[in-house]
Symmetry: C3
Amino acid sequence: MTYFNEKRMKKKLKELAQWVDGTVIGDGEVEISGVSAIDEAQAGEITFIANPKYLPKLNETRASAVIVSKAVTRGEKPLLSVSHPYLAFAKILAFFSQKPYQPKGIDSNAWISPTASLGKDLTLYPFVYIGDHCSIGDRVTLYPGVCIGDGSSVGEDSILYPNVSVYSGTTIGKRVILHSGVVVGSDGFGYVKEGKKNVKIPQVGGVEIEDDVEIGSNTTIDRATLGKTIIRRGVKIDNLAQVAHNVIIGEDSIIVAQVGISGSTKIGSNVTLAGQVGMVGHIEIGDNVMVGAQSGVGHDLPANQVFTGSPAIPHREWLRSVTVFPKLPEMRRTLIEIEKRLKKIEETLSSSEKEK
Amino acid sequence: MTYFNEKRMKKKLKELAQWVDGTVIGDGEVEISGVSAIDEAQAGEITFIANPKYLPKLNETRASAVIVSKAVTRGEKPLLSVSHPYLAFAKILAFFSQKPYQPKGIDSNAWISPTASLGKDLTLYPFVYIGDHCSIGDRVTLYPGVCIGDGSSVGEDSILYPNVSVYSGTTIGKRVILHSGVVVGSDGFGYVKEGKKNVKIPQVGGVEIEDDVEIGSNTTIDRATLGKTIIRRGVKIDNLAQVAHNVIIGEDSIIVAQVGISGSTKIGSNVTLAGQVGMVGHIEIGDNVMVGAQSGVGHDLPANQVFTGSPAIPHREWLRSVTVFPKLPEMRRTLIEIEKRLKKIEETLSSSEKEK
Amino acid sequence: MTYFNEKRMKKKLKELAQWVDGTVIGDGEVEISGVSAIDEAQAGEITFIANPKYLPKLNETRASAVIVSKAVTRGEKPLLSVSHPYLAFAKILAFFSQKPYQPKGIDSNAWISPTASLGKDLTLYPFVYIGDHCSIGDRVTLYPGVCIGDGSSVGEDSILYPNVSVYSGTTIGKRVILHSGVVVGSDGFGYVKEGKKNVKIPQVGGVEIEDDVEIGSNTTIDRATLGKTIIRRGVKIDNLAQVAHNVIIGEDSIIVAQVGISGSTKIGSNVTLAGQVGMVGHIEIGDNVMVGAQSGVGHDLPANQVFTGSPAIPHREWLRSVTVFPKLPEMRRTLIEIEKRLKKIEETLSSSEKEK
């Protein structure tokens, strides 16, 4: 499938080059009307090579132009040379694909509390529920099955996809995107044992999701016990992640699918947690930290470093150790053999000692 | 709980034997009216032993007949001897439990776009939403809270359970089953850093789910960036799995609960990924591969082999290494001790050398 | 954010002490009107120190009183000394935060089968669906988008948050809390291969959730193949966990987020499974077992012990082995060096032997 903008808008390659701050190698007059992957691109489209392993396809693609890094200086097709091809691709794709927002209005099958405060130019689909004293900003889109609990607010230009559940007392910023099945504000998992019985700790705090956050399908964000769970500006969370009560995730951090973050843990800004990472509660992760997939983090991690493993250790150490892991049986055999040889030597020495 | 068909249909054991291509050992005239687990079965029911560890229960069950493998040649009860007891059980259970489809019609509380194309004999529950230009095949069942985005299609005889969310531009085949909370077509997790800021890569591709696919509760399937995410014919996915953008899963593969597959990875046909497996993006997994639970796969895997571990290695190697893992502290102590012994020997030799 | 009860009820510290069976150190007449975390507490509030690492804050907090363990015998503020500070905090927080239930009635946009049996004092929100022959107990709250399948029952005082899906034939006890997106009763993941094709095993069993169970957002509980999946009294399950067909979880057990339990496994009572644990099917976990985060359990586990690792081993052994793991490369180098030294010694001995 190829993406075209509906009106088949065309742009000259040299115009796109201006848009992404790149330079044309070859014919800048060629007209581009869409963006496509390298194997599927057709004449009239632009494609990109971000990963050098696809360079052999440079002259095979049917695309009319190719976005390349500055390392590529010539090709049979017109090239758009940029310092960051994937970023240029993203921008050109956005250019061709973005449509201006058009409000669809408020469907008569949406249920809206008379005490809710509604902005203008909304798109509220059937079977949307908006509780008492909610505040919905301008140009917000709520798809079918979205439920906004009492006293919550959704900032302007935000989009909540079908069947998103927002509990009461939640604050959602501007330009936030919540994908289907996201749950925001459910009770934190807090119990205390009285004998064997689990006594529930009331979860009376809230959740604040700042501007420009995007949260993937079926991810869950629990409300705080006291205080707030906070997802800071620009954070992007993938599908099926778990963010427990009182967690704070710093600006621009990336949380990949199926990550689990336990209660009260603080994630710095610009952190990347790869898929299926698990974090215990009450720890702090420094800014710019990266944690490898499936890692388990049980302690604070200092800023600006890469960690992997369960339990997580510095990534390079982990790499060296996992390389040895498959050699463990051999190492064990060697150890046993060495002990035999040692014993033999010791016996030899002992008997020669006696000989003296 | 025992499963009976509602009309209490009865079949003679010899008739069931014909149905599953087995042979009766003992009285083939005994009448069977239901299927039950070995501990709960009552007179009039058939049960099964698929796992030899339950063989001691063969003569204890109250069932009137037992499905067994060909290794079992006699028992106190009539036996139904087959080459694959669990398969025979599945077929006999289906025989007793399956009811013919009866359409319930279109509830007046379903919201259906006037531009949608609807097949015949539908079952559309209240609070179903069907967007513009959708196509819904004959005998489709959509439970309450199902949302079908604009331009999507659902093939005949498919069943979408409550609160399934299908984004726009999704193709769903025939006889597909999507369990509650499944999300199909949400945006792939694609960003590119511009400084620290995460720039969203528009996700303008689609998702295609082929015939006879079943997807478990709250599993998420992202749409492609460009092109399509594809789930091929006969694939079965368990609950809470994550399938990222541009992933392709080959025919008849089995994806167990909580597996995560990163973007653009291609899974072959007849592959089995056990629970909680994680896969990085842009790799290829050969046909008939099996990957053990909780494994982490970072590279291509060749066909027809079994892998386990994080990072995944051939299963037998992994088995040998994990057996050594608990012996690491002992190995380390041995190493230290060996070094002392060695040093002592070296000193002995060195002094005896000097003596000379 | 601070939690206050709406009416700003005030209690003297000595009255709270009676309520939680504690003793006052200092002025018992001080009036308390709310509960807050130690950093955010204001005058008029009580806070708590459950973790000794926060003891330095004892005299810094602005709270008017502090709940402490018996190890703390003095402070600048009035203290509430108890044997279990976190439990006392939970009870005092409940005291200030709990409001009596007030039924909101049945919204006209809820869809209720005429054959359903409804208790009194219900709160049924818009877009709730209740199928044929369901039974809903007194004072049940069903939020928008909740779907109760045919023949299911929900016990009195239970709360089902938005977009919960309950399949047909499910039994839910009293005072049960199901958070948003929970799915109960979806088909178990059961197939049997006939050649490469996956033949579905009909899932005709049910699910029973006993009293006082709480289940976190987007967790999935599959119905049994035959018989029942059972969640026993007092079990607490966190978000995004997977409970497969025919699993039984014993009373008061704690299942943390993203745990996956495979088919037919039996979990004892008062068990704790930490986050992201995976369990194979058909095993038994003894009472009071604790399993560390991210562990993979492939065998029965005896009662009253702690296990960690993938595969799981006794926790202390695991701790010792993971400490050695980062030293593997060094151990391997040592082994190679030892072999060289050994060889040299053996050659020395061999040549001195020849000299003789």
